[in-house]
Every structure is written in structure tokens, then in C-alpha cells.
Symmetry: C2
Subunit: 268 residues, 2 copies
């Protein structure tokens, strides 16, 4: 039987001894010249696939190239070894029949093992994703950017909005395939979300260029077994060198970050 | 000088005496057999472009076809006559550099005159869109689906969340290029949003298959001049017939809806 997303994630994390997820977010300005995006991604994947628990392409960087970008994305997902889960970072959210089209696009067309979704439109906008019981659905909860405070920190009658989102996700998680996105840039909120949802995988961006504290991300992000935290990093790994040695440099950066995460994990 | 989005919208609405926006949301199940999506869209546009104030393709229905879908979307936008504004219904929202990639995709790659965005991640996630001063940016405020209540109706210290979103958008609208998305299925909320943002264009889905009341959508949606409401309808127009007469049937349905809107407008 095919593994579901959480099983696949845990297996990859245990095999590779890694909570590191590499963001495959290509940027022509920061890549070596004279290489196609697909070849770039392929080289990064080949150089790092024994060091990660997942890969996470953000769709924006492909959409900016239109149809050609989507072709590159299809090719990129196909390059990821079967045993490593892929997370389509798309942050989609729309009404029922439209959400179904998005879910079909991410899970069937591109074949992602998981996707990020935006909960602003409520349960019926997420349900078509959740119905793919073998796939993972990561709900934006407390995002890593400064502006996240504008709405996610607004005080509701029974707590700030990100807590309400975490509690709703907990209620909606009837098939055990949901997770939350919480930025490493907000360690207190991360700790609170982990407390509210002790069993859910947490996707944690923000440790690299955005300045989130890695020690807190690991300490507050993992579950009681020291698992189910997915520490995402993109730029500091994939753009570690702009030279011919870019894949080797990415491997070095990934290895370093994975090992730092594992050292912090010993202190948890 | 090139017109900005609001000028272009008002001009098209006045020329065509129309507040109707047709949603170009193709669905292979509901289309005539033996026609490509691009030819279908092209025929719908040719049959209706003197009856609308805008066209609004929802990206989900193209993404579900992967790279080929994006090629069809590029072709579809190119078929819309220059004087009719196009709204890319994408509901995007992501952190700064990623939001920039999305804005570039929608405004430069596809060439939309406006786009819908999701405000959950706050101002810095919308700013890259707003910075395209000649383009329109429609912020999700009170969406038309039942699940919208899950978060958008949550009570904050000073009102429900959709009101906070409307007030934030009002503050963020430094270039006068922002609008709001409010479903016709929630007429009281629509009236309240129009009161809070008297001058902003409102994009109003939900009058067709979703059952929103057209009379209220018109009465509460327009500004004091009876303008700046964009009444969006998709399925009831583009799938009016599954036969060879689909374009003619779409024209009839569009004409009828436009004229009903205009009759309600007389009573405002």
C-alpha cells in the first residue's frame, strides 16, 4: 500500500536524519549563468536528496515564467526521488468547485505529496484538499513575514487569530493529514501552536534570510518525539554559490544546516 | 497616456452600459465537446465583449491543466479587446519577494489589468501588487462561500474581521488602485463594506449558481454615482448551452443579466 504523507515524511526524516526541507525557489538573478532552471533544480536535488526530509517548490517562482515555468515545475517534481516528499507551496484558497480545481492541479497534475493552503475563506475552501487523504495539507497559521501581524495577530474574543486558525485546523483534521505553517521568526507563537496541536506536522520557514532563530525553531517546533517539524530553507542553500560549484556548495550548506538542527535536537 | 485600471473599468462600463463581468472559468465537463478551451473562450469573448465591463478568468481552471492550461490562459487574455479590463482571479498572497514574483506573473507575464489577492499575510504581502499603480488590486474581504464565516465573521475587538479588512484596505490604498471582493450572498455585509469604502470598486461574485440576490448586489454594491460595482457571473453565462449555439446562448444570458442589473440600477 502507498504510504500517506505523514508516513512518507517521517520515513524520509528518519532515513536521512533530517528535519531540513529545501525550498526550490529559482531566481535567475541569483543562479549561475548558462544553466536552465530545470538543470539547476535537478543538480540541487541530486546533491542533497540524502540530507532532507522534503523539497518545497514555491509556485510563484515558476508562475512568473508563465507556461514555460509550469513545464519546469513539472520536470522538477519528476526529478525528486520517490522516497522524498514534495510540498507544493502555493498558499491556495478559493470556493468549493474552484478549490477542487486547485487541489487537482497540485495533487494530480503536478503530483505533490502535500500543499500549503490559505484558510481565510474557511473550511469549504480547504475541504477539497483535505479529501485527498494520502496527501498533506499545511494551513497558513502564523506566517514568517512582518505583515503577518496585520491580521493573524488581531485579537478575537478568545485569543489571537493565529490561535483560532490552529484550533480550527485541529477540528478540521478528520483524516490526520493536516499540518500548519508557522514562521521561525515568531518563536513564542510557534511554541503556543505546538502546544495547541501537539501531533501535527509544522512547516517552519524563516530560519535563513528572514532571520528566524534556529534553536527556537527546533526546540518549539518538534513534537514530543523530536519529530514533525519541517525546517524550510531556500536561498541560503540553493544560492550558496553562483559559480560552477553551486551544487556542491548547496550540499555543504544543507549538510551544515541539517547537522546544526540535529545538534539543537539533542538539547530538546 | 495609458489609462489606469479604474479609468479603464469606468470607461468600459459606461461604453457598454454594463456592470457585468464574465468569469472565464472553463470546465471540460460543461463545455461543448469538440472545441478547445481557447476556441471556447475566444467565441465567448467575441459574442459578449460589447456587454461587459470586465472579464475575469479564475486561474484554478487553467492550472488544473498544468503548463498547457497556462498557455491557454495567455491566449485567452490576448483575445480580450484592449478596451475591456481583465481581472486575474488568483487570490494570491505570500511574503515579499515571493509576492513580487506573483505580481510579475499576473501583471507582466499574463498582462492582467487587475488581480485578486488574499490579505491574510498582511500589507507586505500585498504591497508588490499595489506598487503597480496602473493595475487594480482586489482584496478578499467577505467571500461568497458558506465557509467564509469561519474566519471572516470572527469578532475582533472593534468589529468582525471582514470590516477590519475593509478598513485596512482603505488605509493601504495610497495609490487609489485597490478594491474589495464581497460576495452577493451576504447583502448586509456588502452594504456595510460599501459604507466603509464609498469610493472603492467592489468585485461581487455569487449572483448566479451560488444564489446571491441580484437586486441587493446592485443596490448595495454601487457607489453614489451608481458605478464601481463589478457583478461577476460565470457558469450561468458561459455554460448557458452545451450545444453548437453556446456562444449565442452566452450572449443571450449576458444580455439578460446586464439588462436586469440596469433595471435594478434605475431603482437605486
Amino acid at each position: 500500500m502507498k504510504m500517506n504523507f505523514v508516513e512518507k515524511l517521517l520515513k524520509a526524516a528518519r532515513t536521512n536524519q533530517s528535519l531540513l526541507c529545501i525550498g526550490l525557489d529559482p531566481d535567475l538573478q541569483m543562479m549561475p549563468a548558462d544553466i536552465s532552471i530545470l538543470d539547476f533544480n535537478k543538480a540541487i536535488i541530486e546533491a542533497t536528496s540524502d540530507l532532507v526530509c522534503a523539497y518545497k517548490p514555491n509556485l510563484a517562482f515558476y508562475e512568473t515564467l508563465g507556461a514555460e515555468g509550469f513545464r519546469v515545475l513539472e520536470g522538477t517534481v519528476a526529478c525528486v526521488p520517490d522516497q522524498i516528499p514534495t510540498i507544493g507551496d502555493a498558499k491556495r484558497g478559493d470556493i468549493g468547485n474552484t478549490a477542487r480545481a486547485y487541489a487537482r492541479s497540485l495533487f494530480e497534475m503536478f503530483g505533490f505529496d502535500a500543499a500549503t493552503v490559505n484558510p481565510l475563506m474557511g473550511f469549504d475552501s480547504l475541504e477539497p484538499f483535505i479529501e485527498y487523504r494520502d496527501r498533506g495539507v499545511f494551513v497558513l497559521c502564523r506566517t514568517s513575514n512582518p505583515g503577518s501581524a496585520d491580521l493573524q495577530d488581531q485579537l478575537l474574543e478568545n485569543g489571537p487569530m493565529y490561535e483560532i486558525i490552529a484550533k480550527l485546523a485541529w477540528d478540521w483534521n478528520k483524516y490526520g493529514n493536516m499540518g500548519l505553517v508557522v514562521g521561525a521568526t515568531y518563536p513564542e507563537e510557534l511554541a503556543r501552536v505546538r502546544q495547541l496541536c501537539p501531533d501535527m506536522p509544522l512547516l517552519i520557514p524563516g530560519v535563513g534570510a528572514q532571520g528566524g532563530d534556529l534553536a527556537s525553531a527546533v526546540r518549539y517546533g518538534v513534537d514530543v518525539k523530536g519529530e514533525k517539524a519541517i525546517i524550510a530553507s531556500s536561498r541560503q542553500i540553493i544560492f550558496a554559490s553562483k559559480g560552477k560549484d553551486f551544487a556542491e556548495a548547496a550540499r555543504d550548506a544543507a549538510l551544515q544546516l541539517r547537522d546544526r538542527i540535529n545538534r539543537y535536537l539533542e538539547d530538546v
